[in-house]
């Protein structure tokens, strides 16, 4: 029994082309006959479905615990507030404790220790998960409800759903591609941690370099293998200098993608550049660079169908 290979596309800096790369890698694997699952783990701003022009289905609520005080049972002892690690219960002697939802971590300690069982779970919707299918690629996508903060819970849910698929139908997918949020926070960390191979996407600017080196530090901390992609590599003619700087910092590079109007146009049309049925120029700079990246990836990754 072979488990699917999991590739995480990330980047540190925002707007470097993570989603562009994740979607087109998924398409290229599909073109070669691999069964592909794409997971959009940028739950704050999921965009993969826009690039795939996919219709989201199976909207499922992600619920999160908040304490609710049952005043008939509460004896106003204050034990819950005293023990709450994030001070999410406000207690004034001889009155009912007041839950403060914005700081509650959802640890359920209050619920577990209340001597009179006066704390009840008040489940609140903090986001949703969806599934979709487009161009023979399956998609799992998470969405954080705007004004909610706990994005990590939704990412966690997506990864649980992945585990479930792998357990029940290990051969359903050959390749799983994870698309992350920008940054290096818990959501990104969880996705990197769940991957076999990591591909950070960067751009040849000072910001790009600084953020790339930082995300590589995190990838290394999590003991994962990585190779970087340099997007917009032809920007202002910095490519050679930038690649040299990466080499000096010991960064391995999988390939680069030059600026190409067809990439922008494919993105705005919702048709991935590398889709076999698309009408994009096979000799275009963007198209050729993706083909080369895919060849290098196949050489690196030992994938099986």
């Amino acid at each position: 029994m072979v488990k699917p290979k999991i590739i995480c596309v990330t980047g540190g800096k925002g707007g470097t082309g993570k989603t562009l790369v994740a979607v087109n890698l998924a398409i290229m694997f599909k073109n070669k006959g691999y069964k592909v699952l794409l997971i959009d783990g940028d739950v704050e701003n999921p965009n993969t479905f826009l690039l795939l022009n996919a219709k989201l289905k199976n909207k499922t609520e992600v619920l999160y615990f908040l304490p609710k005080i049952n005043e008939d049972k509460c004896n106003k002892c204050g034990l819950c507030a005293e023990n709450c690690g994030t001070h999410a219960l406000l207690y004034i002697k001889d009155s009912y404790p007041i839950p403060i939802s914005t700081v509650c971590s959802g640890c359920k300690l209050c619920y577990k220790i209340c001597p009179t069982n006066a704390i009840e779970p008040d489940l609140k919707v903090i986001g949703w998960t969806y599934t979709a299918s487009a161009l023979n690629i399956d998609l799992f996508l998470g969405e954080l409800k705007p004004s909610e903060a706990r994005s990590a819970v939704i990412v966690n849910k997506l990864m649980e759903n992945l585990e479930e698929v792998i357990e029940t139908e290990p051969e359903k997918y050959d390749i799983v591609i994870l698309d992350t949020a920008p940054g290096a926070h818990c959501d990104v960390e969880e996705l990197i941690n769940g991957a076999d191979l990591v591909i950070p996407v960067t751009e040849p600017t000072r910001f790009g370099k600084l953020d790339l080196l930082r995300i590589i530090e995190l990838i290394t901390l999590l003991k994962k293998e990585y190779k970087a992609i340099v997007n917009r590599s032809s920007l202002l003619g910095y490519k050679e200098k930038f690649l040299k700087e990466l080499e000096e910092n010991g960064v391995e590079v999988l390939g680069d993608i030059p600026l190409d109007e067809e990439i922008v146009s494919s993105y705005c049309q919702g048709i991935p550049l590398m889709e076999e049925k698309s009408k994009f120029d096979r000799d275009g700079a963007g198209y050729k660079s993706f083909t080369k990246i895919f060849e290098n990836l196949i050489e690196w990754g030992e994938f099986s169908k």
């Binding site: 540190g12 800096k13 925002g14 707007g15 470097t16 989603t19 940028d42 739950v43 704050e44 701003n45 965009n47 826009l50 690039l51 023990n83 690690g85 994030t86 971590s105 959802g106 640890c107 359920k108 300690l109 577990k112 220790i113 954080l144 705007p146 004004s147 909610e148 903060a149 706990r150 994005s151 949020a181 920008p182 940054g183 290096a184 926070h185 818990c186 959501d187 990104v188 960390e189 969880e190 941690n193 751009e203 600017t205 000072r206 910001f207 600084l210 953020d211 930082r214 530090e217 995190l218 901390l221 999590l222 920007l235 202002l236 910095y238 922008v264 993105y267 705005c268 049309q269 919702g270």
Partner: protein, 307 residues
């Protein structure tokens, strides 16, 4: 003007938050009406310091922060009852069981430091301790502009708390008591660190670009800002991009009647300025981009004076 706090956010990353903040900071700093402190709250990937570096390395202050707490297991107190694991003390899956040694094992990345294990363990075999979560760095630039930014320690799961600390830090600087504008470079996204950034602000500048993701993420960011009742204005970057999304953006703005602070057309002087590590308004003051940012600044100042 009494003290105003504003931030530039975007939802989508890489649409020009930091470039805009650097230029607005430069303009505001030269403005005699304004006493400015600038903050970089993108604590996962702080970049503003690249464009607004310190006057001298000696004067950079770095303060370690301990905003994260983590559980520690005390093996000598453990009676191996396994209650902690069997009864799911931990809601964050940070408490696992080491079958070989028959003791609990803590996954530090997953641990939220909530203290549930400490309270629930009948033998008190867990402890909660603060751990280093990042740094707050502060200095003055060569033009004596005070800048403060945070930088998380990787793997410390603390971004939101560190953002709050950076903002708090700016409030308690005696030397800059007469500050009347705090300008914040925000993180991408709409989650925890962004909410921590916009909380308590007087105004938000949302920057976007006319692409499908740019618009999608802008609407989500504005939905979040609206829930917190913070007034906002929009800046459209790369406004002349040839994109089928132009129509969508125009009709969204028309329908919503949101305030537009200005538009910046695609201009190579922006990446060029960045490669010289300068705000574009200083590198190429006559460029179209600089003129657009100048008029955004004028409009922003006017809006802030009415708040």
């Amino acid at each position: 003007m009494n003290r105003k706090k504003i931030a530039v956010i975007s939802g989508k990353g890489g649409v020009g938050k930091t470039s805009l903040v650097a230029s607005l900071a430069s303009l505001a700093h030269k403005d005699h009406d304004v006493n400015l402190i600038v903050l970089d709250c993108d604590v996962d990937a702080p970049n503003l310091a690249l464009i607004l570096p310190a006057k001298s390395k000696e004067e950079v202050l770095t303060q370690d922060m301990y905003t994260t707490k983590k559980a520690t297991f005390l093996e000598d107190k453990c009676t191996q009852c396994k209650q902690c694991y069997d009864e799911h003390f931990c809601e964050f899956k940070a408490l696992n069981w080491d079958e070989n040694n028959n003791i609990p094992i803590i996954n530090y990345l997953a641990c939220e430091g909530c203290g549930a294990c400490k309270v629930l363990c009948p033998e008190s075999a867990f402890e909660i301790n603060p751990v280093k979560s990042g740094e707050i760095i502060s200095y003055e630039t060569s033009s004596e502009l005070p800048l403060i930014y945070g930088k998380t320690k990787l793997g410390s799961t603390t971004s939101g708390l560190l953002v709050s600390e950076v903002k708090e830090h700016a409030n308690h600087l005696k030397k800059y008591e007469d500050t009347n504008l705090i300008l914040i470079d925000g993180p991408p996204g709409i989650g925890c660190p962004v909410i921590a950034t916009v909380s308590g602000l007087d105004y938000v500048v949302a920057i976007t670009e006319p692409t499908p993701s740019g618009i999608h993420d802008l609407t989500r960011a504005l939905e979040m800002v609206t829930q917190f009742n913070i007034p906002f204005g929009i800046v459209i970057n790369k406004a002349d991009l040839k994109s089928a999304s132009q129509k969508q953006l125009n009709s969204y703005i028309k329908k919503s009647s949101h305030e537009i602070l200005g538009k910046i057309n695609f201009d190579l002087s922006i990446p060029e300025a960045m490669s010289y590590a300068k705000p574009v308004v200083d590198y190429a003051p006559e460029s179209d981009a600089s003129q657009a940012i100048n008029s955004i600044y004028t409009k922003l100042k006017h809006v802030l004076s009415k708040l």
